[in-house]
Amino acid sequence: MNILVCFIAAPDLDKLIEEDWVIDKDLQIDTSFLKPTLNSYDESAIEIALRLSDASQKTKVSINHKALTIASTPATTILKTLNALRFKQVVRIDSQDDFRFRPGAIAYILSQYVLKHATQDVLFLGRQSTVGENAKTHLLVAERLGWPCITQVSGIEVIDENHLVVTSQVDDGQIRQKIQTPCVLCIGEVPNTFMRVPTIKDRMLYGKRPIEILSTTDFQLPDETEELLDLKVISHERHGIFIEGETPEQKARELYKMYLKERLEKI
């Protein structure tokens, strides 16, 4: 079964301090000093693909898993890690475009990649990227390919070459479905699927395997139907009064007496 995991490395925005949130005239925020990381949806997507591959001896279905990203910067560490984790192939589509808010363009490239470059049975995508928060790419890829899509996926089992059992979250619970490939699976919140760390031996043996590099100029991009007009930093500041005291016990008593007692009595 051919599985393509599409991911995006993004700066860890939690590392920015208040003063870093400066929007320039081109509606850019400088995050170049932050190390690219994977968000938890993409991490889960990668780990789930690896677990399916681990289980292939049991299921007797061989898994050919590939990882692909569209990125302007090499994000080399992550790509090398994916190599060391023994993805069969790691692909980077090089791009100098600003794709932060262009899920339509990303979806177009991904679908063209699948149609023209490498046939796939299943596509895994994380629910949304950290920067754009577009939450549209997986749906648009599915529409472009004419494939069905299951969102908020939390579990996948391989049944045979053409069938999967997929568990996903819906608005009032979960649903477990036996489905036929091809399909797009959008990975949601999945506890205990942190991406594994490769062994040093695997890093040495596989980490430096070549990464396939394509360019977005190989793809003709469609016009976007949504356009960014403005960005404004949101401020959430409140009083932020520090409760002073010599010991934690003193502070707790002060908190209760001055701030909580009356409020809790009204609840």
């Binding site: 949504e226 960014l228 959430h236 409140r238 016990e249």
Partner: protein, 322 residues
């Protein structure tokens, strides 16, 4: 402008969906030349009348289906709406709403945006805003192609009552003949065992990654029980499996509005904070004086959360039996 709200009456969260639409409509779509209606999908005949009472507009198309399966709903919507002059389709904030907004726009050659907080229609384009950069920034977007399909931001429902109307215009459609999409070979719904009660809680204690392990998470849950608070967690705690996912607070969890919210050992990342920003009073307990949560709280204690909360339990016990 003509708009339609789309509701999924097959889901048990229908009252929240209707509340969100109602609130959004009254905040954003009040100009005189605005005409709105609702399309409500449902499957259980017995629920029909109760569902109609939730409709936030004067007219409603009731569409009976066997099951809310996205591919079928899309088929039904594109068939029903072909040739209609609808400018805007509004979907609730849930998973189904965001999926439908994007896919319907694609099929109807329109434009879409999900998790939208506010809109403004100029006659030729829709201006819509939503949070980006993990909830740190508000982005304003121009949608250029009609129909505009948007899903609402989570937590936009308030307690505003829905106007139950005397003269509701109801049109009925039977689409129970729509077959399951071929790609599904079998399916089984697993209803939620524990619904999250965090959305409406008045007193909330939240534990963050500062809890470090499952045992400490259980310890904090006990403290919450003792002081009569509901217990929530930040994402790393839920993702580590230290407690169940339904306790997660934030943009990808529950959006709360407690009268008192105590946050212990969470840094206060924007994606988390969005889930508590409607609290009346926020207390932060954190060992790091530079943690963002301190500034976005009403009061903050810089100390170990365990020492502080143990003493809080004591002082509350002294004051009133708990």
């Amino acid at each position: 402008m003509i708009y339609k709200g789309i509701l999924n009456g097959c889901s048990t969260d229908i009252a929240t969906q209707a509340g969100e639409l109602n609130n959004f409509i009254s905040d954003n779509l009040h100009s005189e030349d605005t005409v709105g209606s609702t399309i409500l999908f449902y499957s259980e005949k017995e629920q029909r009348d109760a569902l109609i009472r939730l409709v936030p507009t004067e007219s409603v198309k009731l569409v009976r289906i066997t099951r809310y399966q996205p591919e079928n709903i899309l088929k039904a919507l594109t068939t029903m709406e072909q040739g209609e002059m609808t400018h805007l389709y509004l979907f609730p904030s849930g998973f189904a709403g965001s999926e439908m907004a994007v896919r319907l726009a694609f099929r109807m050659k329109g434009s879409s945006l999900v998790q939208v907080k506010q809109i403004e229609y100029s006659g030729v384009q829709l201006i819509a805003s939503k949070t980006v950069y993990a909830n740190h920034v508000l982005g304003t977007f121009k949608l250029t192609k009609k129909p505009y399909c948007v899903s609402l931001a989570k937590g936009s429902a308030n307690d505003q009552a829905i106007n139950t109307r005397d003269k509701l215009i109801v049109t009925e459609y039977d689409m129970t003949h729509l077959h399951e999409n071929q790609f599904i070979k079998a399916s089984k719904a697993i209803p939620r065992k524990q619904a999250s009660n965090l959305t409406n809680t008045r007193f909330l204690l939240i534990g963050g990654n500062g809890m470090k392990n499952k045992a400490d998470t259980q310890y904090l849950k006990q403290i919450a029980d003792t002081i009569g608070a509901d217990f929530g967690v930040s994402r790393p705690v839920a993702m580590s499996g230290w407690t169940s996912l339904h306790r997660q607070v934030g943009v990808s969890g529950s959006m709360t509005k407690a009268a008192v919210c105590i946050v212990a050992g969470a840094s206060g990342a924007a994606a988390f904070y969005a889930g508590i920003e409607k609290s009346k009073f926020i207390v932060a307990i954190n060992t790091d004086s530079r943690a963002p949560i301190n500034k976005t709280s009403d009061v903050a204690i810089i100390d170990d959360y365990k020492a502080v909360l143990d003493e809080l339990v004591k002082v509350m016990r002294e004051d009133r039996p708990i």
